[in-house]
Amino acid sequence: MLHWVVLATSWNILSGYSGYFSFGHGAFYGAGVYTAAVLAGTFGIPFLWTLPAAALVAALLGVALGAVVFRVRRVRGELFALLTLAVTFVLATIVQNTPIDGGPGIYLSAVPVPALAPTAAGTFYLMALALAVVTLVLARAIATSRLGLALFAIHDDEDAAEVMGVPTYACKLAAFGVSCALAGLAGAIQALFVSYVTAGSTFNITVPLTVVLMSVLGGTRHFAGPALGALLITVLLYASTAADHAVAGKAITGVILVAAVLFMPNGILGRIRRKSPRDTRDTTPTPAATPEADSAIHSVRANRGAPLLVLRGLRKSFRGVHALDGVDIDVRDGEILGVLGPNGSGKSTLINVVSGHYAPDAGSVRFAGVELAGISAHRIARAGIARTYQVPRPFAHLALRDNVALTAMFGAARRDRVQANAEAQRWLAFTGLSARSAMLPGALNLHQTKFLELARALAAKPRLLLLDEVLSGLTPAEIDDAVALIARIRERGTTIVLVEHVMRVVTALSDRVVVLDQGRVLAEGFVSEVMARDDVAEAYLGVAHA
């Protein structure tokens, strides 16, 4: 039973937290089994010494696999599940056909059981218990750490997490490594316990499926969920085996899984947590007065007006369509630059390229003197650029405060978790969402969700804020609210690039505007001058050909 607690909990560290469901846990478990079996059984190395080796081999295997797989953006979700399953079978075949096993299996009956307890059974119990405790403590530590929050964010929206400054690749690798090492340890202990291992009984589909079942049942978003699931399932299986109803037990397990997936997609613990208090009032947020000025950053800067972001010859095409066709723009420190243009003129692509969502085909993006073109999105975020999405992309399963704390931790400011939580509360207060900080984003209306996006971007302490149509879809009254908020953000010294269609907003807020048309800069200057130009009017209103 403890064995399953370890396997399910370790699986959950990567798969449950980050949503990368691995069906290859059997492979890493098996790597541990065979490392221990070969070292102890064939070479006669004392068993306890094989434990670190087993953990290491399994972890290396996982990290090596992850290093390749996590680079391929497409392999997510069910494709990742399939790929890891396939790896299990490949590994099984290799073990089966090489001297590692050779076919007949390996006996460990001659390996002395370390005398940690008076009896062999006691020793096994002790080892399993120790490992289970270590695993649970680790799982809990990760869940409450920066890494844990990053993994939960990856689960909800990996691309957005990267743009918020989370080094997603490194986070996934770290979680995979820990997860595999623990599985390897469990495998090593199991090898000695059963004292005879074969490829067939080690690398099969039962281990991953059981582990997934237990975790889903218990709840994958809580460190103790898989352990609870493991407890329930093993009790159920033992009970039915003892009562000679093994078949019925299997059927009941199946029924439970179906019911769990259909009715409790968040597992038992997920369901319990869902019952936590929820604010049902549907008032619009009333932004609080500006929180006490933070002295360190964002006061009046000496170099106000100097170019902060310099774009030169920026190009980006999608299948031959030039979304950006040689764009030169300067954004000056401390200003609000409005970016205008008809549909399809390249505004959103501009934001996506600057924030690192896409790499430009050509051209340079210099921010505060540093070249950013082509570097990964999370490093751009750390350099001090934050953005909002036109279609809000909050992390759906994270409470509001965690949504905001994430960028405080991984954005330009790089706070630890405690500071980040305080920071999150401040920005939620700034956007008038304090009362809802424990709620999930799904409970918000569009207006509140847009403000959450703002709070999240601000918590990163950006020098440059990219706002992609934050006002679209809001009522006129809500728009007035948001305009006041954006004006206050600027007062704090943050430079803003504002992509917006609502002209009265652009007029009210922008110091200067840039008009894009068909991927090029059509006009640049003060709002009233630019919008009075004939070619701009034409780009917007068209000319009658008739």
Binding site: E78, L79, V90, I205, L213, I256, A259, V261
Partner: protein, 285 residues
């Protein structure tokens, strides 16, 4: 290493094509429900085995010709497929959750089979078993030939239906852009049930083919999962002909590996292929 004779290689390739056609037949239904309904139906395998056991029961105990059991099995499993889809459609499931839910279903069916037929080996002794044609130096077993014929006929039949019938075109339109298809009057829910019915019927047919050629145990349901998934992925989701050709390619490569190296190396071919495919093929999902 000495290379086996040409005849042996040809015989291996032939048996590879036969087993590959069964991979293709099993993969066909899976591919349709995955590609068009976004349901990864692991229970497809369980249904195929249930059909196989049913066929075994009717043929061995009832003395019915195994092929005649299709008359009962096809409508029965079509209905089963529709029922499952009807249930799943009430919940909006991600593909991953559909995989988990249908895994639960698989466990239930497996337990049901084990409860009724026990975990013992069952082999259908039909009029077809052991019958062989001899063509040149090669032996062609009849049950496998039936499987091949059914797989080819069904794959090409469904391929043609997807291209040339009103229903097929509607399904392809739904798979590409459901809201726009609906704007032209195509009822997404009704068509999903139709696909599930076809997929269920295909599970039934594949089951009868399984019963004709293979010894059945409840736990061998899982033995087919990996390799058939490989065939489906290789062939392209939602494709009608893909699984057949991919299945045959995998079958032949496995069989030749068995003949050249040793039987235990066989799985590595299909799974390495699948891994390479997942990592290297851009775009298309």
């Amino acid at each position: 290493m000495t290379l086996p004779s040409a005849t042996l290689l040809a015989q291996s390739a032939l048996s590879g094509i036969f087993i590959g056609s069964l991979y293709g037949l099993l993969g066909l239904g899976l591919s349709l429900s995955w590609g068009l309904l976004h349901v990864i139906n692991l229970a497809h395998f369980a249904f195929a085995f249930l059909a196989a056991y049913l066929c075994y029961q009717l043929a061995s105990v009832g003395g019915v010709d195994p092929l005649l059991t299709l008359v009962l099995i096809v409508p029965l499993f079509a209905a089963l497929g529709i029922a499952v889809q009807w249930l799943l459609a009430r919940f909006s499931l991600s593909p991953l959750n559909s995989l988990l839910a249908t895994f639960g279903l698989t466990a239930i069916v497996e337990a049901g089979i084990q409860g009724y037929w026990t975990a013992d080996f069952r082999k259908l002794e039909s009029v077809y078993a052991g019958e062989k044609l001899r063509i040149g130096g090669l032996f062609v077993p009849i049950p496998e030939l039936i499987t091949l014929a059914l797989a080819v006929a069904l794959s090409f039949g469904i391929y043609a239906a997807m291209r040339h019938t009103r229903l097929g075109r509607a399904l392809r339109a739904l798979a590409e852009d459901a809201p726009i298809a609906a704007a032209f009057g195509i009822n997404a829910q009704a068509h999903a049930l139709a696909i599930a019915g076809v997929s269920g019927a295909l599970a039934g047919i594949a089951g009868v083919c399984l019963a004709l050629s293979f010894t059945l145990t409840p736990s061998s349901i899982y033995a087919w999962v990996g390799v058939v998934f490989a065939a489906v992925m290789l062939g392209g989701l939602g494709s009608a002909l893909g699984p057949l050709f991919a299945g045959a390619a995998i079958g032949v490569s496995e069989a030749v590996t068995m003949a050249v190296a040793s039987p235990s190396w066989a799985p590595i071919v299909s799974f390495t292929l699948l891994i390479a495919l997942l990592l290297l093929r851009p775009g298309r999902t």
